[in-house]
């Protein structure tokens, strides 16, 4: 069969594992010491209010007005607010100097509509010429946030279980469960990468995160399945003596064009979204498109370089174990051959095959 690439994935698997682990380690260190994980108010509860205004106002004046207002409120008098300022990108033409001030209340507190109205009115009164307007607001009750978080967690777990089950069912012939478990190892790899994208780019974990995680689960598994499907097919065609590592390597090389092409078209699609949202600066979609794109790359990579090689290692390990068990019973190999002659013929053949397979694979990986 035609084969465009000749990459020995199995032999190079240590390099691939090294690259993945290295990236994760660096991200983990950065995550712990430099960029702590942010969690959106959707999960923690809390309030963010954004006002658009025009003209040059001093930040401290605005903050003083707001702080004075909340001191009068029963529910908020002990709270502090984190402020941030940005240009208003949705500005109209006659109002080119429009800015946005964003208020995030510390303490994950849901701010009541009455308190919000009081703040809006105070700002309007203090700066009548600056046309303060509420651009967006969001307030989530803390218990509701926790609830939502558990709902998302349950969904991710359910998705993972369903998928392992499906892979195991579909691929009984090439080792069912072990193939499913290795596919999941690749999925975990992708999820960790997606998580680090959120952490490194300072994007709070929110509903977008869950959507991306689920999407990458599906996409990465899709890639892995196409490869497993090819392994299943090649295995049927090739003689039972062919070492598993060789079959997997051929399958990977044959599937590579497809995996890369599909990744390219998918990345083109989500990439267009990312580029356009970066130009228009639509925050809510950047935190969706960027991790999605990196997740897609990671998904294709993990299917080729993590799931299949891991599975080969697992299979070889199993074969080796079997062999060792036999060797344990009888010390030397010669004896084992003699012994097995006493057993049924088919058994002899099988154990010979297994040990040969294991040896062949061992030489391959050791090179």
């Amino acid at each position: 069969m035609r084969q465009t690439f000749h990459i020995d994935f199995i032999k190079k698997s240590k390099i691939f594992f090294g690259i993945s682990l290295g990236i994760m380690l660096v991200c983990l260190i950065l995550n712990i010491f430099v960029f702590p994980t942010l969690v959106d108010i959707q999960f923690t509860g809390g309030t963010i209010i954004k006002y658009s205004y025009s003209g040059d106002l001093k930040a401290e004046d605005i903050e003083k007005t707001i702080n004075d207002t909340i001191k009068e409120s029963e529910g908020l008098k002990n709270d502090t607010i984190a402020y941030s300022y940005s240009d208003n990108l949705a500005k109209s033409e006659q109002d080119s100097n429009s800015k946005i001030v964003s208020l995030q209340f510390t303490g994950n507190k849901a701010v009541s509509v009455e308190d919000k109205t009081a703040i809006t009115e105070a700002l309007e009164k203090a700066y009548p010429d600056s046309t303060f307007k509420e651009a967006s607001s969001s307030s989530v009750d803390a218990s509701k946030g926790t609830n939502f978080f558990f709902k998302c967690l349950a969904a991710v777990i359910l998705a993972a279980v369903l998928m392992i089950f499906y892979v195991a069912l579909r691929f009984k012939k090439i080792g069912g469960l072990s193939a499913g478990v290795m596919a999941v190892a690749a999925l975990i790899h992708d999820l960790i990468i997606v998580y680090f994208v959120f952490a490194m780019f300072r994007m709070p974990l929110n509903d977008n995160f869950i959507a991306v995680v689920l999407m990458i689960l599906g996409y990465s598994l899709n890639d892995t399945i196409v490869i497993y499907d090819r392994i299943r097919e090649l295995r049927k065609k090739s003689s039972p003596k062919t070492p598993i590592g060789e079959i997997v390597n051929t399958s990977l090389n044959q599937c590579m064009v497809r995996t890369i092409c599909t990744s390219i078209t998918t990345i083109m699609a989500i990439g267009s979204v990312l580029v356009v949202t970066l130009i228009f600066n639509i925050d809510s979609i950047i935190s969706f498109a960027l991790p999605m794109m990196i997740g897609l790359i990671s998904g294709s990579y993990s299917s080729l370089c993590i799931a299949a090689p891991l599975w080969v290692i697992w299979k070889n390990h199993q074969a080796k174990k079997k062999e060792e068990q036999k060797n344990d019973k009888v010390p030397s190999k010669n004896k084992s051959k003699k012994n097995s002659k006493k057993g049924t013929k088919s058994e002899t053949k099988k154990s010979d095959n297994d040990s040969k397979k294991a040896e062949l694979d061992k030489t391959e990986t050791a090179e």
Binding site: S137, K144, N147, A211, R258, T265, A269, V273, F288
Partner: protein, 448 residues
Amino acid sequence: MKRIGKPVFFIVFVIILALAYTSVFGIYGENGDFKITYIKGINDMRWGIDINGGVEAVFAPDGRDATDDEMESVKAILELRLVDQNVTDYEIYPDYTNDRITVRFPWKSDETNYDPDSAISELSATASLTFRQGSEYSGEVLLEGKDVKNAYSTYQTGSDGLHQHVVVLELNDEGKEKFAEATRANLNKTISIWMDETCISAPTVENVITGGTATISGSFDAASAAKLANTINAGALPFGLKVESYSTISPSLGNSALQAMGIAAIAAMCCIFLFMLFMYRLPGFIAFIALLGQMAISIMAVSGYFPVFPSFTMTIPGIAGLILSIGMGVDANIITAERIKDELWTGKTLDGCIRNGTKGSFSAIFDGNITVIIVAIILILVFGPANIFSAIFGVSTTGLIYAFGYTLLVGVISNFIMGVGASRLMLKSISGYKFLRNKRLYGGKKSS
């Protein structure tokens, strides 16, 4: 191989073009000054609050558990108030398990002075039910919400022997006295029933009612009778509503987003077209036609093209899902085209290669798509309004991601129709043309 006729390609092609055109532009007619929509296009799409701007709020009974019937009443009053504020495009999701009601509505397109705070406050205000003399709001107040014990709709035989839907009103002891007096004073006159400042019913008193149970009859059907009963009950609710969480978005913030996503969709289509043409030549071209068809079906499923499917609220993540499904959709074509290439290199005939290639690739395409379907369904379950998940965890407020799951699911299904079904028909048909039988067009070696 069963031959597929040469004209099939053009028939499929024309059908896809027609679907694509009508799904985007719709079909409209004119009847005098009225514009009649025969088929809904993109302009009739219902956009979510992240595009049009709008309000989403979750209400909960203040300080106590509510029964399912009480929640029905809360829903009835919220609906009444929304219509009062001229909001007709609202979505309302009651969650009976956790006693929450989620309301979501976009700003009207001509709304200039939007005020989210008062919109939310008006919705959560304590219901004020009054029975007034005459049919004007200025009429004297005869009874209030606290005098009503219960109201329910039922089906009974009227005095004229006809079956009809009626609303039965039960009053408590205090109400009984007041109502007896009121009906005595207003016999054969009108007593109107008001929720806030909206008249919900204006029956004429036919008897003096002293027993504390009155029947309102009229031209009710089952639904309108139930609605009136629910609304009256809302006025008698022993609790107010508190706003548990809310989010508001001003209309100007979302407008540029829609435009941006449109540009992204067109850019993605163009890139993928060029890529597929370059990589796979003829099958690549066909893949693109199929992709147009896939987009058309996806848009139809969202816009309410078929009257049986109501139009869906489209959000920015929903559009992102559509664009993503463009990229993933060609996967079916890529797998098939790669297979055909493989077969061609073994030196078989073109027809044999196309047959084997399409047959051999099906299981991979199928398996791969199942996983995406699992994901899409779970996304719909988690972020959707009412289902098993929300029974355990409560209705979620983030309806934006719900649209992503929906478009993803629609994308995968339409991909089965177009990327697998229609592309194969077209490929087998077009390969019947002599001048298109050069194996190079399919990615094979130079034919000798």
